[in-house]
Assembly symmetry: C2
Amino acid sequence: MRLADSFRSERFGAVRIHELQRVIELDSGMSAGAGSRIVAPDELHAVESQMVIVVPCMNEARGVIEGVLSGIPHDCLIVLVSNSDRAPVDRYEIEAQTVEQFCRLAGRSAITVHQRDPGVAGAFKAAGMSELIDDGGLVRSGKGEAMLIGMALAAMTGRRHLGYVDADNYVPGSVHEYCKVYAAGLHLADSPYAMVRISWHSKPKLRDGRLFFSRRGRSSEITNEWLNRFLAEYSGFGTEVIATGNAGEHAMTLDLGLKLRLAGGFAVEPYEYLDLFEQFGGVLESTSADVMANSVPVLQIETRNPHFHDNKGEEHVQGMRMQALNVLYHSPVTLPSVRQAIVDFMVEQGALGIGQEPPKERLYPPVGTLDLDLLYDALDAEALSFRQPDGRVAAGLSAAPPIDRAAIPRRVA
Amino acid sequence: MRLADSFRSERFGAVRIHELQRVIELDSGMSAGAGSRIVAPDELHAVESQMVIVVPCMNEARGVIEGVLSGIPHDCLIVLVSNSDRAPVDRYEIEAQTVEQFCRLAGRSAITVHQRDPGVAGAFKAAGMSELIDDGGLVRSGKGEAMLIGMALAAMTGRRHLGYVDADNYVPGSVHEYCKVYAAGLHLADSPYAMVRISWHSKPKLRDGRLFFSRRGRSSEITNEWLNRFLAEYSGFGTEVIATGNAGEHAMTLDLGLKLRLAGGFAVEPYEYLDLFEQFGGVLESTSADVMANSVPVLQIETRNPHFHDNKGEEHVQGMRMQALNVLYHSPVTLPSVRQAIVDFMVEQGALGIGQEPPKERLYPPVGTLDLDLLYDALDAEALSFRQPDGRVAAGLSAAPPIDRAAIPRRVA
């Protein structure tokens, strides 16, 4: 893979946000050259073999899921976290079968689990995160919660990297590119605490009966604008460096991931930026001297493929937009002038009554605070949806279950 | 890349048509396994470094062309054959600049040429193919003619493989998959005379204001049906083996390509099948004892990515469909009962008057009959649109023009 060089970055404490870099070639062969950065196949492979790809999934068609799986490089471990309907048809069973069959064909292993399995709720409670559980005794339904479950499973495998890929993607080649970009970015970042966030090239939309390739998402524009305003208010210099505030497709080192506090629902992606600023921005006191001594590079990479997925409608987008502003408003590192401007904007948008305060989004403790041994034992004993399909034996290889109970890493946070 | 195994094939003389195989994984890592065929990265690379990718191009947007180029693996050589408008805006100049700029960024070289350049017509005339020239003294405008020019340029480079990728493709990841499939198929075919034809997974279409993923193209269904009927009439067994009659995306060894007679316009793709049957089917006498002693495997591979391109409209499709039937009707190896059925079908479709005969499509002599030294010298001297942009120097590498005048292979047919 060949990326354009990134020459500029903005610092905020230990966090170094690199300006958007473009993908020049999906496959750069064995070549070298000036003016761009090449990540060679063996370098990509080294990261992929340490990477878990978490696929949050909600009621996607079997064929779409199959396509997504086919795009994930062989050496990445697939973790599917489903929040699909279980009645009248048990869609999770269909998904789990799809993953199992794919693993058999491809000679690989995977993990699948259902977010609303009572055994999953019990396990997270036992492991020390009762915040995740709703009044009905199940893990809450949001996307952030699915990502948190996926991160905990990833941590148990002992692998070093974690990437997210949404299941509602019609283009397997774009999934493939996302994973290669994660590997290339994490290789180039060369830090134990690094994040790679994707900005898709374009998003095909129906407009007046024909396709239009929109460059920016409706919600991303606003999220990015306000995150940049947050930075500018500190530096005194206007900036457009943040282009990936809502990036659903992103990856990070698990060393970083396990320290992050994830937000619930669709606040999760923009809040990752805020948590980086809160924990490693140097404004508040940091609990992680080792991170502050290193730095936290955030690479932003524009893919070549369009992001081509199902249209979730206007309500979904408005919700995402406001959740981003809610976390920005409530962050202790956001300066008062920005907070006031957010309220004015939300009132103007009709999203907030005059005199009201933006609602608080749910924030969870770092996954690194979980007792992973307890989590595994409880999942194994109680969570009926927890599966580790292993297609390696069917392919004539020796079995290698993704999680080795005896080798689950100790808690790190 | 991991492909499903192909267990069945149909023979027609030396031609062995393999049933459609699916892509299971875009990237199969370094693994092995039963029940499927893996082509390892170094095996893909070995084919790619001997492959020319010809991109026929007609009035595509700069951004779309850039995307297509970014998906072609670095070690393949790009040849762009344009038939774009040159006035009021010279679109070919924009395309040539796009290729040149991409080569500079990616440190690679390429060839570009315009189909309707008078110097190109002169060169093909000098090299021995005046059949290609129309009454205005220029190379005819069809797609088959663009592919023929591309094949001749590919032959001059001395590389061993040739693949075609249409320029009107919105998904760089699918271009990437096509090229990997070509490499995997040619590797597995393991014959000096082999062809790989792609059946795309699906084609997104607008229907009632939403997207529908159609599995089969309108014109492909009819072309395939009649090609299969052609085979069945010989064998006495109905078959559905041919699934790629209209495949625009296909690749072959140049040893095979240089022997083929290409048809003009949109008849080119289905006629490749017929020419294989005519030359190597054992019905007519073959002029190629070496091919008959080998065999000609035709691999058909279903990609994972949807084929997502501009809608060219109903007229284009009807034209393609009838051109396929025209060549089938006029082939000396088509049995009389099939010829009669074609006429009946065309009359029923309103494409032919009662008592009329289907028109003949234009067929060209094999590219292997051209004098490539003369062709090169004439292009170099007279064809103003003939360029060999070399971005290797800009990238700090030593220059390596794609065509080495002193090393142009001798004519083979």
